[in-house]
């Protein structure tokens, strides 16, 4: 019998106006994509607090996707730029924790881009599958090391997050 393929669990945060509608469109158009992504609706990609990502990984997700409107098309004018800035810092922190880059992904998808979103999901699932399970909760000790690290990171983020104009 063939070895069972590793099926990663990926949590995706989709903005209400573009990406969630892209997911709707992918559905309406019956575009099949890998079932490993479970989606959460937020109003804007700018709402995605890095601790959401860390929380998802800490709870056992193997990867996290953040999807928002294209730069310049944000329904809240420019909040996706903030998501973008936050994302690069998030990646930086995850690197510091020894996490592979491909486990997190920032994806632009307009309401018309069902196909693109589905493709991005497929690509990401393949990448994460190739990386293997993250198993953060398992790999780290039970004595709250993950939680502590997350807390520390969240603090760092908060400080570096936004430079007032």
């Amino acid at each position: 019998m063939a070895e069972e393929r590793f099926e990663p669990k990926i949590v995706a945060f989709l903005c209400n106006w573009c990406s969630y509608r892209a997911a709707d469109l992918a559905g309406t158009a019956r575009i099949k994509y890998q079932p490993n992504v479970r989606m959460i609706r937020v109003m804007c990609s700018g709402r995605v607090d890095p601790t959401f990502v860390l929380k998802a990984l800490a709870l056992g997700a193997d990867g996290v996707m953040i999807a928002g409107c294209h730069p310049g098309e944000c329904h809240y004018l420019e909040q996706n730029y903030k998501a973008m800035r936050r994302f690069s810092m998030l990646k930086h922190s995850l690197r510091a924790l020894g996490l592979e880059e491909d486990r997190v992904r920032l994806q632009w998808a307009s309401a018309a881009e069902g196909v693109q979103l589905a493709e991005a999901i497929n690509e990401m699932v393949d990448q994460v599958r190739a990386l293997g399970p993250l198993n953060w909760p398992g790999n780290w000790s039970e004595d709250g090391e993950v939680e502590a690290a997350i807390e520390r990171l969240a603090e760092e983020h908060a400080e570096a997050m936004e430079v007032p104009a």
């Binding site: 099926e7 309406t28 959460i40 109003m43 700018g46 959401f52 944000c74 809240y76 004018l77 903030k82």
Partner: protein
């Protein structure tokens, strides 16, 4: 948890049930998920019977929370919220899981789909228990409306509202309303004279008791929110007293300074330094262009002042400001024309007899620079042949990707005018003929009958480098006739470039000023491309006309009227509900760091100097949540999208990983804990 959650799984006919084992999921949710009191599946949850099912359970079983696993919340969230409200449950205590769009329609394997549906329902059940009762707030709507832009879209919107009895402020940047339409000669496909159908509407605007026409004015500042905007308008100095001026035009006649009119006449004709763009201008009050005026240049002249019979000329006039309060705003700021010089191979600006579409419009206009005669740049020679080039700057990745929508029909109109007014042969070089509105295809047929030559191919270049017999002294249009598969060199006397429609150069700034978004190209973004085409994401701000995207006059007029109807609806209702999905700051937790202040694009966050904390004006807040995510003290909470709610949803979604009982959970060897 003490909440009693009802879970309702929709079959959606076979749309969901054909893939997801709904019975199994309902059973599983009822047995396994904490807090679930009732778990049912039903053929069509959105039907009245389906809704009754929920309402009955709320009443009879005492449900305090509802989860509906069905289609996307964008379709039926309102439906189920209403059902909850009917049964006396706060509508915000209901949550949907999209197991159709995100599961049954996109997952192939039934077993895997069923598992994914379970995870999503687990997430929803977890989350909904932390939901809070929310109440939309009500604010009154000011019955005044601001319309920005006095083209045909703005004119239509203003008249609709004014005729319904509501006050309108119409702001126009130029000295007269009329917009691009006032520059045209005929309109397709009926060949109505543009001026004949437009000017009556313009005079209606000028004379309407409910319309305050602010020409030669611009919006300086906008603040407030739906129902209650405050707007500051700059009235640029006209140097003519509007009260005294009778519009007799003697000043214009006597002004000794003639300059090229780059705006209305598209550089083809002249105007005086004191001018109105065209004879039927509304208002008919002239303005002085200080850049070219001799008096402003040298301090001498004053011919206009000397001859004015009513002493209306006022060289000392200054820009003035007007503050108004309005309930709604309609943006109808129109479009710019693509600069044809950007495509050097078409020769515009280098080869004299290459014209832009707007130049040709002016040329055809009986009151235009050539009095309606179609002539070459020398002003006298009638062309023997004319080529019309489509898609100049449109449908081209190097310039604009989109189709400009009106050029095919305009070029047919031009072809007709050439045939009607001259003996010239006309060539139309097109990629695809797009004639898809009422009467358009018939007009295309008419031009075929009138003998217009159609060449299917995008023109590669226009050159004066002659080579073959018959080319000398001509403009040669080099193009592949793609239907024949040969390269053609068509010698003509005149070339007309059908320039693309582009967003206004300042569209992004205007968008920011009014708090609405632009597409990548710069067109204003509508709330929904199909179902809500004139509203924007900012409540109380509507868009109409070509500012939203290229479109022809009938579509523009329809949008102007539609926007007005939407505004009327708001005014008639009198109050507006404000979504309770907003952010709030817990004062005690706020450190006053002000990080959030600069993050809000809607200026909803202000800093209270006395209390040294930040404060969110919930009427301005649009609920994006960026400040919530950024607050280092976690003093800001986002209603309906709180950290706790989202954490709970994540936890639910990953239930199978966490508890290790998921059918597909990865089995990995436990590695030693790093030291």
């Amino acid at each position: 948890m003490t909440e009693k959650v009802g879970v309702y799984i929709c079959h959606c006919g076979s749309n969901i049930a054909g893939v997801v084992d709904v019975e199994e999921v309902a059973k599983w949710a009822g047995e396994n998920l904490e807090g679930v009191a009732v778990s049912r599946e039903y053929k069509f949850m959105c039907s009245s019977l389906g809704q009754e099912l929920i309402e009955d359970d709320i009443k009879n079983e005492g449900l305090t929370r509802v989860v509906v696993a069905a289609c996307s919340p964008h379709l039926h969230e309102r439906t189920f919220r209403r059902a909850c409200a009917n049964a006396g449950l706060n509508p915000y205590l209901c949550h949907m899981a999209s197991i159709r769009e995100q599961v049954s329609w996109v997952v192939e394997d039934n077993e895997v789909a069923t598992e994914k549906a379970k995870a999503m329902i687990a997430g929803a059940v977890n989350r909904v228990q932390l939901h809070e009762e929310l109440e939309p707030s009500l604010v009154p709507v000011n019955p005044n409306t601001l319309v920005v832009g006095g083209g045909i879209a703005g004119i239509q919107a203003s008249l609709e509202l004014a005729d319904a009895g509501y006050p309108v402020y119409l702001v126009e940047r130029e000295p007269s309303i009329g917009g691009h339409m006032a520059q045209f000669d005929k309109t397709f496909p009926t060949l109505d004279c543009a001026a004949c159908i437009l000017t009556p509407k313009m005079s209606d605007v000028g004379a309407h008791p409910n319309i305050n026409l602010l020409s030669y004015s611009e919006v300086e500042e906008v603040s407030g929110y739906v129902g209650n905007f405050s707007v500051r308008i700059k009235k640029k100095a006209k140097y003519v007293d509007e009260e005294l001026c009778t519009g007799c035009g003697i000043c214009i006649e006597k002004c000794p300074k003639k300059v090229i009119d780059d705006v209305f006449e598209a550089g083809m004709g002249y105007r005086k330094s004191i001018y109105r763009p065209f004879p039927q201008a509304v208002p008919n009050i002239p303005v002085i262009d200080t850049v070219s005026c001799t008096y402003f240049e040298t301090g001498k002249c004053k011919a206009c002042e000397i001859f004015c019979p009513t002493e209306a000329i006022d060289f000392e006039q200054q820009d003035s400001y007007l503050d108004i309060d309005v309930g709604n705003i309609i943006l109808a700021t129109g479009y710019d024309l693509f600069d044809c010089k950007t495509i050097p191979q078409y020769g515009y600006g280098r080869l004299a007899n290459v014209f832009t579409s707007l130049e040709f419009e002016r040329m055809c206009n009986a009151s235009g620079p050539t009095e309606g005669k179609i002539v070459l740049r020398d002003g006298v020679t009638e062309p023997e042949s004319v080529a019309i080039i489509h898609c100049v700057g449109s449908r081209d990745e190097n310039y604009n990707r989109y189709c400009s929508a009106i050029c095919c029909m305009s070029s047919l109109k031009f072809g007709h005018l050439v045939v009607e007014k001259t003996d010239a042969e006309v060539f139309s070089c097109y990629i695809d003929m797009r004639t898809n509105q009422k009467g358009y295809e018939e007009f295309y047929e008419r031009l075929l009958e009138e003998g217009m030559n159609f060449v299917r191919g995008k023109v590669a270049e226009v050159t004066d480098a002659f080579r073959l017999p018959g080319e000398e002294g001509k403009l040669i249009v080099q193009v592949e006739d793609t239907l024949l598969g040969i390269q053609r060199r068509i010698p003509v006397d005149m070339v007309i470039l059908m320039a693309a429609l582009e967003p206004r150069a300042d569209a992004r700034e205007v968008g920011l000023q009014f708090g609405i978004a632009c597409s990548m190209e710069g067109w204003f973004t509508e709330r929904h491309p199909k179902l809500d085409p004139v509203a924007t994401m900012t409540d109380g701000i509507f868009i109409a006309g070509a500012a939203q995207g290229p479109k022809d006059i009938p579509a523009v007029v329809a949008q102007g009227a539609a926007a007005a109807a939407r505004v009327q609806g708001m005014i008639t209702k009198g109050t507006v509900e404000i979504e309770p999905v907003v952010a709030t700051i817990t004062e005690e937790m706020c450190s006053g760091c002000r990080i959030c202040n600069t993050l809000c694009p809607f200026n909803a966050i202000e800093y209270l100097e006395d209390k040294e904390v930040s404060y969110i004006n919930t009427a301005l807040c649009k609920g994006c949540g960026t400040c919530v995510a950024a607050c280092p003290a976690q003093a800001i909470s986002g209603a309906h999208y709180s950290n706790e709610q989202i954490f709970a949803e994540i936890e639910g979604l990953l239930y199978d990983v966490i508890s290790g009982n998921g059918a597909k959970a990865p089995q990995v060897e436990q590695e030693p804990v790093p030291a």
